[in-house]
Symmetry: C2
Subunit: 233 residues, 2 copies
């Protein structure tokens, strides 16, 4: 006999699952397999809470999980994640392009809205936006069928050699303070910048943007991705 579970639990469960799956997916997408502690860090919760949830996600068929071993998404988990990323990035694009919300604010707003937006709404927004390939931070937007546009080849800014000029094509969007800071110094999508120097002392980098000099830390540089311009001085 199947026990009916009330609406609020389903909502809560879905929000939680979406948050976990999102963290797992995004990490794997950039840095490879994720570990328990990393999830706990990213979500600011205890390790015990993570272990608990890993068991539930495994029970629900979204991840493969064996005690003390790694974590990976099942086919269903992967689909779930891609669909969530689609919702998130289209919402960001909508907020940025249609609502004119500031660049550094759209991620957090989308983070809250994504849990409630229906498939129909998302599809309509996609149409209004004329089926964009990338979100406001340069991340690819999965299609209705789950196809993901090729990520633009990009170099992490801290790896770029002195003297070279490049254009910003992607930025990690998950930290509000970081986003606010870089946009305040003029680093947004398509910003052209030149690396003047790498300081060995603190690994910081001296840039030139629109003729003005700027020093950014190694950590900041490592969250910005650029495409080198060919045939520049």
């Amino acid at each position: 006999m199947l026990k009916l579970i009330s609406k609020i639990y389903l909502i809560m469960k879905n929000i939680s699952q979406e948050d976990y799956i999102s963290v797992i997916y995004k990490h794997r997408d950039t840095e490879g397999l994720i570990r328990s502690t990393t999830i706990a860090d990213r979500m600011s919760i205890s390790n015990a809470a993570v272990t608990d949830m890993l068991r539930k996600l495994s029970r629900d068929g979204l991840i493969y999980y064996t005690k003390y071993k790694g974590i990976s998404l099942t086919g269903e988990g992967e689909e779930f994640a891609v669909n969530l990323v689609r919702r998130h990035r289209l919402l960001e694009m909508f907020l940025y392009k249609i609502v004119n919300m500031p660049w550094e604010k759209v991620h957090e707003e989308a983070e809250r809205l994504e849990h409630g937006a229906s498939e129909e709404l998302i599809n309509r927004l996609e149409e209004m936006l004329e089926f964009p390939d990338y979100d406001p931070h340069g991340d690819p937007i999965p299609s209705k069928t789950g196809k993901i546009p090729q990520a633009r080849s990009a170099l992490r800014l801290d790896y770029m050699e002195s003297g070279k000029t490049a254009v910003v094509v992607r930025v990690n969007d998950y930290d509000h303070e970081f986003m606010t800071y870089i946009s305040s110094v003029g680093i947004i999508m398509d910003t052209e910048l030149t690396v003047k120097n790498h300081l060995k002392f603190d690994n910081s980098i001296v840039l030139s943007i629109h003729g003005k000099e700027l020093n950014i830390s190694h950590k900041i540089a490592s969250n910005i991705f650029v495409q080198e311009k060919e045939g520049e001085a």
Copy 2:
């Protein structure tokens, strides 16, 4: 020593509270003071769950509540409710006018989105919509400061005399089946209709819309509000 409560609890608590306060407010707005059983019915949960929550809402200062006696909103509860209604109705308007979502679907979509939409987003949508006074179902939209536009004087369709002609100015939007049905027979905002006859047998009403005859039940008529046209046959 204040105990820190984690994010998901705050989300869950807020969604629940918003749902309860919304039901209490909307009922009072139309039919007067609400009772415990009505809340349980409207939300499809047990009476015990309602009692439980009433104690918590009272503890949190959103309602006045004494055992076995009535339920009413405090000042804070009222503000909370008006702000929620504002978010809900502006989202409906946005979905209807800008996203072009079908009339009968916007209520449910807004119901889910309202929990996640920030004040800033709502204010921007309001501006895009040029500060509308009424939502797609004819309900007034509270302003940023909580001011509520005068409700248009309207007559419940089942009270309208035979022979009179009127225009639809408001419709109760909370039931999806009802909304789908009336829109399928051509009853939407601003629809002009004439009452042909009241059948005593089942209290149903015979209407004429765009020249075509239509019979609707008393219950359907009682959820539609109209404004009589002066100087008509």
